[in-house]
Symmetry: D2
Subunit: 284 residues, 4 copies
């Protein structure tokens, strides 16, 4: 039986950890792993508690009901969920398949515990890679004059797939602000630069033009402002003068894959809390 | 007023964190930072709690007295100390001064909060560097036929200096087993290889002979078995075929300095717990 | 038209580079990329020259014939080949498919320019992954009492495949010494530790037991002595006290994949020269 | 006797390496280390050749004279110098002494081969650290309404010191454009961010505000545009949500020290060539 995870953030008070861990103990719960962080500037408290489910006296719905009054008092944003709940994640792609292929391998091998109800592309290039895994692939083109219509279709597909989250696996279209706003903290993007350097298009070309000695990738939550959402993880690799733009693209692929896989892992395991445009990540 | 730090390890039980954080809350203590780890294999519990001292109702001696019964019940190894207590650290050196110079800079600038009652060398090379900082330097030669006598003198100096800990900053003599046993978890060594590779002498030469592509340094607590004590931190750097042994020595110096400085920082801040030949490090 | 690559090692002399680059110039060749290394200890010279094939006055067989006398005089080991010659590489696997999957992706996408005539496993687990790419998969079991017979079959398959090189992609059988000796500098292994630490079986378990703070993977040429061949590349990742052995296995997979892919890339591009149990790698 | 270093860049032609290495061989020179790079986009050729001085038939002035015609024909920018010429480097500081202290240690220990004719600060904080090494310290304040006058004095000091290069070791004043233009490729700055992120003031605060997961330092040549000169080296370190701005400052110090020391090493050894706003670095 998987552990139970309590994730919570709220304004900071004296004795918060004691009250919350006391509440867990009162219901019989043995804490397997506890992370806590107090942001003194923001005056905000963040916690993640992993509880041995066997030791809990009540089932999850009952516990949620009983935690409600405390959470309300603390003005907390919170979830109480079984670990390994296999969230449903829709993957969005364009032509490049390296991040998708990597996610598919980690999904199939069981390294990452999630379900992929479908993959959506604005090109058809990745169809075969997806369908041979028995996953539906939808091609929704996004012509520049019909973006709104296209993203309506896409939003419908997300809802029909009962998606918990969406991963933009090098999806080369900008998700419209209204859709970003409707899915806060649920859309993950992998950007192929070391943000905030090289926001927007062609970051590898621009990194080459600037002559940087390290390139990188940034995984972040998508918000209405382009490439400005809360950063989850970043990865870099050293480059030298002899590396061409195609070399940077090649070397960057490994950064992208690893930053995305790691970020998705933490996201799936309820290890990330968002506050004030930044993330608290209780890494494992 | 500095925070108060409770460091504790004990056999694992249900509800430990709740009991301990409850005890802190009962004495008014607001938890600023909490780290906890349960080793399921060893069945052992480790915690470090940083408490806002202003919020505590009693002074430290009283709190220690009051924690005693709970600690005894839990069979805990524990300390309750003010952060920034400026522990007294004796530094041991031979001829090479790079780690010493680095520690002196971090000490003088206040980056690391500790006192250096004295530096002891088995050679005189580092005397000037030490004395110009106003720190006493003792040269205790260790002739191969008078090791016992030399280390008796050294042990006396450690005691006279009221040392809390000892740092072997590239000290090239093997500390005798009886002295290691008498100072468990209090002697820190920086070894110039990526342990367990290249235990013992001349690790850079042997790394070069083997043709490794990364070299490293390992900071560990000293135990009776050579280079086999609990590892605190390791640092590596990439090398290539064109690097000679002197190049490895040079590149390794930065690894050594950084691994040692980081480890000492954690040691001074009570962030390290030792159990079963390994460390739990609540990094900051 | 791909460039032409001259790879050469020989005893060091005065004026070697000048003579060899003069020979290239004499045949019209424009040097696109030149790497040279002199090992002063070994008294050995290593070079790799990438020549713009368009500028050469003669074809490859003629050039080889004309270079022969100079090479003989220099006592050189050398090759003169077109870049992107798509060497034939047999991949050996056991049950774990992560390195294989990674190689298949880099092969299919064209990131690595080689052909895979077949994959050989001592278990059948990876068959589907291979066959769906249109690559033959052979399962050759290696019972402990019939190793010799099994490896005879394997050697036959290598020859029938006209393999240039063999990659042991987490192949869990020890290749017998006679086979290693017959394929010098042509069998590449990925070992799941930071060599020379943890030679042999269960390196992740042993790394965990020792409490190291960094784990790694090592890609090396296979020689008759287990895990002692010339190292091509190593990759490491930081681990902490809370990482279990399965965590190390998971984190190590990315190290293995990347060290292997990078090493194979250099191998395929004639960027590696072996001398005295070590490699010279002219990285790109 | 130190080796002789030929550093050269020029428009690319067929047979350049052969001609230049042929010229060296013609004068008896044995090439110890050769680096070459052709930038196909820029159509530019870069080379660094380290020659065993014992094998050369002529002395340096004669060789320079004899190389002149070839260099002119090739339209080359070039130098021909003894390695370990101990260039004269003026160090500029403000209040923070960590980079200065690091350079002083590497200078005193002989790790870096250069002379420090003087250190100039716009504050007096570092005076003691400098003078106790027997190096003159000049305090030149830079009041916002007398910048021009102050930098006139500074330029005079640079000239009087017969400085080959200048290092801005966390010097917090902007060097005026005319002075930058007069010392092209000779002023090295260490900027405390991962450029091009966080150009200008307070990069650590801005990195913290943005919530990046890696911070860094960039060493670059100073040009008239702020923080936009050719990048020599960059170094990064991972940070987490619990790191405050003072933590970033502390962690960044090690990045700054290492990136600066490495860059200065390459600069002193004639391993850096500048072209089109970028550097070619023949790393060692």
């Amino acid at each position: 039986m998987p552990n139970t995870i309590l994730k919570l953030s709220c304004p900071d008070h004296v004795g918060l950890l004691s009250r919350i861990s006391g509440w867990v103990a009162h219901h019989g719960g043995n804490l397997v792993e506890v992370h806590q962080f107090t942001d003194p500037e923001a005056g905000w408290f963040f916690a993640r508690m992993e509880i041995d489910t066997h030791t809990l006296h009540e089932d999850l719905p009952t516990l949620r009901e009983q935690f409600e009054p405390l959470a309300t008092e603390l003005k907390a944003v919170w979830t109480l969920r079984p670990a390994e709940a296999r969230p449903r994640v829709v993957v969005m792609v364009s032509k490049l398949g390296h991040c998708l292929a990597d996610l598919l391998w980690r999904w199939r091998s069981g390294e990452l515990a999630f379900d992929i109800p479908c993959v959506i592309g604005n090109h058809d290039d990745c169809r075969k890679m997806v369908e041979r895994e028995g996953i539906p692939f939808h091609c929704i083109q996004v012509p520049s004059d019909q973006k709104e219509r296209a993203f309506k279709k896409i939003a419908t597909l997300w809802h029909e797939a009962r998606a918990d989250s969406v991963v933009l696996a090098r999806y080369m279209q900008v998700v419209p602000p209204n859709l970003c706003a409707a899915w806060p903290g649920r859309i993950i993007n992998i950007h192929h630069s070391f943000l905030p350097s090289f926001v927007g298009a062609n970051p590898y070309q621009r990194a080459h033009d600037r002559g940087v000695k390290l390139i990188g990738a940034t995984c972040h939550y998508v918000t209405e402002e382009l490439d400005a959402g809360p950063i989850i993880d970043q990865e870099v690799i050293r480059v030298e003068h002899f590396h061409t733009v195609p070399d940077l693209v090649r070397l960057g692929r490994d950064c992208e894959r690893i930053a995305l896989a790691r970020s998705l892992r933490w996201h799936l395991a309820d290890r990330i809390l968002i506050h004030g445009g930044k993330t608290v990540v209780f890494r494992d």
